[in-house]
Symmetry: C2
Subunit: 206 residues, 2 copies
Amino acid sequence: MMKLYYAAHTCALASHIALEDAGAEYSTVRIDFAAEEQRKPQYLAINPKGRVPALITERGILTETPAMLAFIAQSFPKAKLAPLDDPFAFAEVQAFNSYLCATLHVAHAHRMRGYRWADDPAAMEAMKRKVPDSVGACYELIESKMLRGPWVMGDSYTICDPYLFTVAQWMEGDSVDPARFPKVSDHRQRMSERAAVRKAIAEELG
Amino acid sequence: MMKLYYAAHTCALASHIALEDAGAEYSTVRIDFAAEEQRKPQYLAINPKGRVPALITERGILTETPAMLAFIAQSFPKAKLAPLDDPFAFAEVQAFNSYLCATLHVAHAHRMRGYRWADDPAAMEAMKRKVPDSVGACYELIESKMLRGPWVMGDSYTICDPYLFTVAQWMEGDSVDPARFPKVSDHRQRMSERAAVRKAIAEELG
């Protein structure tokens, strides 16, 4: 049985939803960021990066959301969470998720985690000020070029959908007005109505 | 036949090497960053992100190095560039490449591309000052926890190897002393002796 380490309001929600979508048997462990549990030796032994998510599998530990999502899709092929038999379509899924991970999530992280990239408090404030622009630019690209609709990859629901939904939860906090992005907002609404999403959120915030 | 859009000294080199490793038939197109070709309409029609690499395939255009590398590995299975029949081992490959993309490359980008995350010139200078630390911390993790040796994933060469080699080309520019990281340095040396690597570099810098 897999075990997911998560913290509330983080990108771990994407893998949590995907585990639900897959019909996986799994358990969860909440890491308390307020108590800095992610930097304590007990957790660093699981994930030396000191971040969530981490997924304990019977073969070992996985980190990095795009890799975990692909693993969940490949481990539960009957759930059809990715086009596993089509390398090009699978690469499109991976490319979308890589963009969320390396561009959108990174832009967002400059609001609260500027210390990763500068030591000067004034620089961290400058980073915070740019977040509405830099995150907003990501959603402009997603809205105009990437989200095919009704799901990210078109007619088929994939592992891109819980990931987009997860990062889109941060829009208001990043001062990005969802009303500017009708396709993203519609996607977020439809995702929020899915039983798997409701269950994962209820557990994380309960 | 595939076509790779690249710029010199960028992460596009990883896919270029992998195409050589795969024995693929491909052509390349150089994008001139000094002339800002990546922001001109002709290139934005190929990759609206305005970045390299981009890979033109017979099915469409792919971006994002981790996705492109996985696509190359899956498209040329005889080259055995990834453990395609083992979802866990494949996820480990994807996790490593995701870390390079979303953490190491992002840390490095704060030296020259701070304008992505702040508008204040003083903040960009503060970001530059942090790069030796933030990039160095990535190599500490890679050296101590991630690079199994002799190749990234152990005995088998995979798509992790050209990617690590590519980003490791930037160490000196980021004021990270390679001598601190003997396993990474040894890997870089052995990679640099491979014919595929020599050919790709000669073309990009020729």
